[in-house]
């Protein structure tokens, strides 16, 4: 009898794992990181690697006193306010104002895909006959910096709607990407940011996945400018000698969907500065 019960219990566990939804996944991640970093309060995860790297943090706090991303916010505000050639502007596409970063990424039932903030901004441009912006470098970061700044303090709350199975499929797809090993080095996102979070790789400490999406766009000293989340995805793929996929392509959008759900409950604090 005992044996049967144990077997049943084991079966139950496997079943939960196989069908775990976003909230179960997030709880598992949090449980894992709490065991690894018991003294780090939950809200600290929004600060990325500086939640777990006290030395890097001192440096970072000094940098944040004169934020290197400030000019980009100003440039973004000018973009937000400047009318397009047809007289309309971002304001017409987003009537609730620029404090909207918490609304993305979201499942768009009509388009049948995950819509991220950069994609929504470009769809606004295109709908008004303007040229879309490049997704990794350049002016998209200005408008993103402005929207991020206006959205500070809003709480991440990604939902995977139950009434459209394609939404869960997109989430699952992003989750699978996260756990899939790629490249010549045969690493997954999880190998570094979950299994080995807190360890040092060359000069950097590996940050936890919870909190990975709070601070975008990021001013990176190595870049010497502000860059997008998908630029970072490319970089992390390249580092393991995998060919990066297309910024804002389906794979990276679904990955962002999953990643953002893992940060549900954290406050947005972008733009931010990193090494």
């Amino acid at each position: 009898m005992k044996k049967i019960l144990i077997t049943l219990a084991l079966l139950a566990i496997t079943a939960v794992t196989a069908q775990a939804g976003p909230e179960e996944d997030r709880m598992a991640f949090i449980k894992y990181y709490k065991a690894k970093f018991p003294s780090v309060p939950m809200e600290e995860y929004a600060n990325g690697v500086y939640a777990i790297d006290p030395i890097g943090r001192e440096n970072w706090e000094a940098i944040e006193e004169f934020p290197p991303y400030e000019p980009f916010i100003d440039a973004g505000q000018a973009m937000w306010e400047k009318p397009f050639a047809n007289g309309k502007g971002y304001k017409d596409c987003f009537p609730d104002g620029p404090a909207m970063a918490d609304k993305y990424p979201s499942w768009d039932k009509q388009q049948g895909m995950v819509v991220t903030l950069p994609l929504a901004l470009n769809q606004c441009l295109e709908a008004n006959g303007e040229k879309p912006l490049k997704y990794k470098k350049g002016p998209i970061n200005n408008i993103l910096a402005y929207v991020a700044f206006q959205s500070r303090g809003k709480v991440i709350n990604v939902e995977v709607p139950k009434d459209d199975p394609r939404a869960m499929a997109a989430y699952e797809d992003g989750k699978k990407f996260y756990f899939t090993r790629r490249g010549q080095l045969n690493f997954s996102c999880a190998s570094c940011h979950l299994q080995n979070a807190g360890l040092r790789v060359r000069t950097e400490i590996l940050s936890p996945t919870v909190g990975h999406v709070t601070g975008w766009p990021v001013y990176r000293s190595k870049w010497g400018t502000v860059g997008t989340l998908h630029r970072r995805f490319s970089g992390c793929n390249n580092n393991i000698r995998a060919k990066a996929l297309k910024a804002q392509g389906e794979e990276y959008r679904n990955l962002e969907y999953f990643l953002t759900a893992m940060s549900n409950g954290l406050e947005l604090n972008g733009p931010s500065a990193r090494k």
Binding site: T17, Y32, R181, N238, R241, A242
Partner: protein, 110 residues
């Protein structure tokens, strides 16, 4: 690492050794046709890896270098680079196919 991947790597490594050994032993020199053939195979393997989002970072670069070498008449070099690219393409493909099912690592407890 997956057994299959390891096997594929061994097979490839052995194949590469055997291939180059044959070229060396016979004192055989690669010619333009051999280079073109190796490059075509490499490109096919790269595309197959890309079809499952498994292309590695430098595979395309090696193919480009092989093409340049072939153009310069350096056929041995071209074949060597193309074989390297082909091996990468196969490994990248196999790497993705062997993980077609999502497996949550055991250290993550639900």
């Amino acid at each position: 690492m997956k057994i299959k991947t390891v096997l594929a790597m061994l097979v490839l490594a052995f194949g590469l050794l055997a291939g180059s050994a044959a070229v060396l032993a016979g004192g055989m020199k690669a010619d333009a046709a051999m280079a073109a053939d190796a490059i075509a195979k490499a490109e096919a393997a790269r595309k197959q890896a890309a079809s499952v989002n498994g292309e590695w970072r430098d595979t395309g670069k090696f193919i480009k270098q092989a093409q340049d070498a072939a153009k310069a008449g350096e056929y041995d070099k071209a074949v060597k680079l193309a074989k390297k690219a082909e091996a990468e393409g196969r490994l990248g493909y196999e790497q993705q196919v062997s993980q077609s099912e999502l497996k949550i690592p055991s250290y993550l407890k639900y």
